[in-house]
């Protein structure tokens, strides 16, 4: 898993940038072994995966280079149009999914792949039955590849059934820890960023680099599930190791309004937290709104998660204290490259884990712009 540093502009920024780079590297080095040992046993960590399958390490390295590099058009003759479908929680304020799908489509075109894309973005609050219906609609067109995500056990059952059918080939986005239960029949690739690593980077940066270190925190979870558990659990664990107290925790509907309400409740309680940890962009935006309404902007910190456009905008306006920024488009590009490799019968690694960077308001707009250019190199500003 790579971490990238913020860009520099001017001597001061360069010094800060190099410090940031050093910090990110240090954080990465310190956390890397710790992370691998702290994942629930349902999942296989990246390290466990490479230990069990040593060939995966080199395969991942070469695949990472392939993702970073410009597109090389496919040379294998394509006998038919490939059909790709995606069912994902794309209808949310976070542009993570939209940008990924955009980057994915553009990369496919640059790879000269003849494809047909069936897009099914769903609201983040969609029930399991509705997701099932959307998947059924996608399957009716008999796609070759199906892009899904995995957050709850209900969806896990759905995916298991699809894996058992062996068609279409499943690509899981936003998860980088293979499920042990699928050991014999894994999806084509797990693509995403490491939630635990990102959360721990946030916690460490907050504690090491922020002058006003949080002392008690409130946590905004999404619905109960994989993402909440990984992002929320990892952050709370990391903060508690530094003696930071968990003041209150709220489960939400993974959207801004529910986060707004939860934040208001936190702020209005007698025991108000001095930092609110949001497990996603939408939750962070809801929290910002509530904090602003209470006139506590700059007093109570909020984090972003993912570093999408909305978060970067909020960072520049100093509404967010910090965010962990994914190199967003890399994951979309990785899906396209995985399909390319699969079509040309080249090996596909089991996991693609994207890069991160910590972004704070202390970064200059040029630095943020440079990071954005890197993160959104296909989906654009």
């Amino acid at each position: 898993m790579d971490s990238i540093s913020a860009p520099s502009s001017g001597q001061y920024v360069e010094r800060r940038s190099s410090r940031l780079q050093w910090l990110l590297l240090l954080v990465g080095v310190i956390l890397a072994p710790a992370l691998s040992a702290h994942v629930g046993s349902d999942y296989i960590t990246l390290e466990q995966n490479t230990n069990t399958h040593p060939e995966q390490a080199s395969l991942m390295r070469s695949f990472n280079a392939q993702v970073k590099a410009p597109a090389k058009p496919i040379s294998t003759p394509q006998h038919k149009t490939i059909k790709i479908a995606a069912v994902y929680p794309g209808l949310q304020q976070s542009d993570y999914w939209r940008r990924n799908i955009q980057a994915f489509s553009l990369r496919l075109e640059k790879l000269n792949l003849d494809y047909q894309f069936d897009d099914h973005p769903l609201p983040v609050t969609t029930s399991l039955e509705q997701r099932q219906q959307a998947i059924d609609i996608a399957l009716a067109k008999d796609p070759d590849y199906l892009i899904l995500t995995l957050d709850d056990t209900g969806q896990q059952r759905l995916i298991e059934k699809l894996l058992a059918r062996q068609r279409p080939k499943i690509i899981l986005l936003n998860i980088t820890t293979p499920l042990k239960a699928w050991a014999s029949q894994q999806p084509l690739i797990y693509v995403g960023v490491d939630h635990i690593k990102g959360s721990q980077m946030l916690a460490e940066h907050l504690f090491q680099q922020t002058p006003n270190k949080p002392t008690n925190i409130g946590v905004l979870y999404r619905q109960p599930g994989y993402v909440s558990r990984m992002r929320g659990g990892a952050f709370i664990d990391a903060m508690q190791q530094h003696g930071v107290r968990l003041n209150s925790a709220y489960y939400t509907q993974a959207d801004s309004p529910s986060a707004y309400r939860a934040t208001l409740a936190m702020l209005q309680s007698d025991n108000r937290p001095d930092f609110i940890y949001a497990c996603s962009t939408d939750l962070a935006l809801g929290a910002i709104q509530a904090i602003a309404e209470q006139g506590l902007t700059g007093i109570i910190g909020v984090n972003g998660w993912g570093g999408g456009s909305a978060e970067l905008d909020a960072i520049q306006k100093q509404l967010l204290a910090i965010t962990v920024m994914r190199m967003n488009d890399d994951t979309g590009i990785a899906i396209a490259e995985a399909i390319r490799n699969d079509l040309s019968r080249q090996p596909v690694p089991q996991i693609y884990s994207g890069r991160f960077a910590i972004v704070t308001p202390q970064l200059s707009s040029e630095q943020i712009q440079q990071l954005s250019s890197e993160a959104f190199r296909y989906s654009g500003p």
């Binding site: 046993s41 349902d42 558990r229 664990d237 925790a249 489960y251």
Partner: protein, 620 residues
């Protein structure tokens, strides 16, 4: 029927013996294979035992997982009860506990948790709401403090008790208010220490030969089906110290093995399941296979010894006979050789018989040839002797002929020439003779003198006159060849003794002819400009006979034997035969740098029959 015929009918091929050996080897291989199979079976049994252990392990893992899942879902169901979720978001723990206890009371039958605790979101406060099977009062703070990670559902926690720590599983689920706020966490779990429910579930469905199972935490057995003072318990203890290895307890043929048990969604790996397997059938199999293997091996070794002895006897006996026969090969008793029953030896004996017959025939042929050769040699020797005699006769005849011819020349041609010379002289000194006549007479005189010289030289060469009158030394000094040397500017140093002992006429002639022949060779072939002729006498005292040494040497280029032979007369061969006839010794050395040297040694005895050394006969 002869012995040979009988042996033919009883013929055994070595291949038969080899086949027998292979058969025995095959038996040994079978025995080894049986042993291998025993080991393989042993391994299979071990594998089977290991599989049984793994099966038990999977079983307890499954039982545990099932239990924990049930506990978790019951806890979750409890947390989602309306009585709890509809509470005021600002409710305190004691306010939450009231409806919680009521719910537990109502659902007691459906609750599998051994304890249920209520904890604040920050983990600071807690209340012990329900406990069963635990005699001690729960210290909820101590237990919750062991819930060290939010990433995992299940944890292992130690509950301090009076006797010894009690191990429990621990999980939690949030009680979420309707506004999403986590009101509190509901903690629950089961006690693993002494949990016979789990143990009995495993035992009831475990592999048939499972004798006992146990759950261990680190190095301590916390629950087991085995009584404490039993062998099974000892086997359980033994397996704790060597995890993941199959241990064998000889006493009651028990096998034990421990494996890690992982709680679902936990990072704790300190719990182990130990299975004890009893394998009575294995001992029977072991004994049976050892008996069978031993029996086959003993039989194979016995048969092998027997056949090897027979083979050695059959092989070595004819070899011994053959060796004895070889010692007595001159006795001609080979036909009595009994090659024994081995076909290959019979074939070998036949081959040896053929070889011996051939050898005998060859020996006879060689003997005949040797006799013929000896006869031929004798004939050759006689022929040589006759030839030598003939040569000597030839020498004598030649000398007589020369002598006669010289006499004839002297008498028939010398006298008239002397008369013509005298007449010419008288004509020349006649006062009346004209100058022309005087000139003619002087011419006649010169021609006559030249003729006389020629005739004289011919006579001398045919028969050296001084040899008869003055002896060898004077004959050598007047040898006509000396003039020829002088004419050719070849210097000659002559070193002769003042006198010689009395030599026979034959000796004188032979020595003279050898000198003459040698000088002729120098003139014709040597290209020398200097020659030496020496005759020496060696005599140690007057009593002993003298030795005459003749040496003719030059500084020329030497000459080939063919050239010497072609020099006229009888050449080298003639010289050798002359020396031989005098019973003297002879040597010839020559090279391009030092020229040629012929040396003749002649022992001068009273009796000519005595010789100094034997001279090799030259081919004639």
């Amino acid at each position: 029927m002869t012995a040979a015929q009988r042996s033919t009918t009883r013929s055994i091929s070595l291949y038969t013996l080899l086949g027998s050996a292979i058969l025995i080897a095959f038996s040994i291989v079978i025995a080894a294979n049986l042993w291998g199979q025993y080991r393989l079976t042993n391994q299979l049994i071990n594998k089977e035992i290991t599989n049984s252990v793994r099966q038990n392990h999977a079983l307890i893992q499954s039982v545990l997982n099932g239990q924990l899942k049930l506990l978790g879902s019951q806890l979750q169901m409890l947390s989602q009860q309306e009585e709890l979720t509809s509470l005021d978001p600002d409710s305190q723990l004691h306010q939450i506990e009231v409806p919680l206890k009521a719910l537990i009371g109502r659902q007691k039958q459906a609750n599998s948790n051994d304890f249920i605790m209520l904890g604040s979101p920050d983990g600071q406060l807690c209340r012990n709401s329900y406990q069963i099977f635990i005699t001690e009062a729960l210290n909820c703070n101590a237990l919750i403090a062991q819930f060290d990670s939010n990433l995992y559902n299940w944890h292992l926690a130690k509950l301090e008790a009076t006797d010894s720590p009690i191990l429990t599983t621990l999980t939690r689920t949030p009680i979420v208010a309707q506004n999403g706020k986590v009101l509190a966490y509901l903690y629950g779990g089961i006690v693993l220490t002494g949990n016979f429910s789990v143990i009995n579930q495993v035992i009831s469905t475990a592999a048939k030969q499972t004798s006992a199972v146990g759950i261990a935490y680190r190095d301590q057995i916390i629950a087991t089906s085995a009584p404490k003072d039993s062998t099974e318990f000892d086997a359980l203890q033994q397996a704790i110290s060597t995890p993941d290895r199959l241990m064998h307890t000889l006493k009651e043929n028990l096998y034990s093995m421990s494996h890690r048990v992982q709680l679902e969604n936990s990072q704790n790996y300190d719990v182990r399941l130990i299975s004890v397997i009893r394998t009575d059938g294995r001992t029977e199999l072991q004994q049976g296979m050892i008996q069978q293997t031993s029996g086959i091996l003993i039989l194979a070794i016995f048969l092998a010894t027997l056949i090897i002895s027979l083979t050695l006897k059959l092989s070595l006996t004819p070899l011994g006979r053959l060796r004895n026969l070889a010692k007595q090969r001159h006795s001609g008793s080979f036909k009595a050789f009994n090659p024994g029953s081995i076909t290959e030896f019979k074939q070998l004996s036949q081959e040896v018989a053929n070889i011996l017959t051939d050898l005998k025939n060859t020996e006879q042929q060689l003997r005949d040839n040797s006799y013929l050769l000896a006869q031929s040699h004798r004939e050759q020797k006689a022929l040589n002797s006759r030839n030598r005699k003939l040569l000597h006769q030839l020498f004598n005849l030649q000398e007589q002929e020369r002598k006669h011819l010289a006499q004839e020349l002297h008498d028939q041609l010398g006298q008239p020439l002397a008369v013509i010379n005298t007449d010419a002289y008288l004509i020349k000194v006649d006062s009346t003779a004209s100058d022309k006549i005087i000139s003619f007479s002087e011419s006649i005189q010169r021609n006559v003198n030249e003729m006389s010289d020629v005739v004289y030289r011919r006579i001398s060469s045919l028969r050296p006159m001084p040899l008869n009158d003055l002896g060898l030394l004077e004959a050598v000094r007047h040898m006509p060849a000396l003039d020829n040397l002088k004419q050719l500017n070849i210097g000659l140093e002559i070193d002769l003794p003042p006198t010689l002992p009395t030599l026979t006429e034959q000796q004188q002639i032979h020595l003279f002819r050898i000198i003459q022949e040698s000088l002729t060779n120098i003139i014709k072939h040597s290209q020398a400009d200097q020659a030496w002729l020496r005759i020496q006498l060696h005599q140690t005292d007057f009593q002993s006979p003298a030795t005459l040494v003749l040496e003719i040497r030059d500084n020329g280029i030497g000459c080939s034997s063919s050239a010497l032979e072609q020099s006229g007369g009888f050449g080298i061969n003639g010289m050798i035969e002359r020396v031989n006839s005098m019973k003297g010794s002879w040597s010839l050395t020559q090279n391009r740098a030092a020229g040629t040297c012929i040396r003749v040694r002649l022992l001068l005895t009273d009796s000519d029959n005595e010789t100094i050394s034997q001279v090799p006969s030259a081919p004639l």
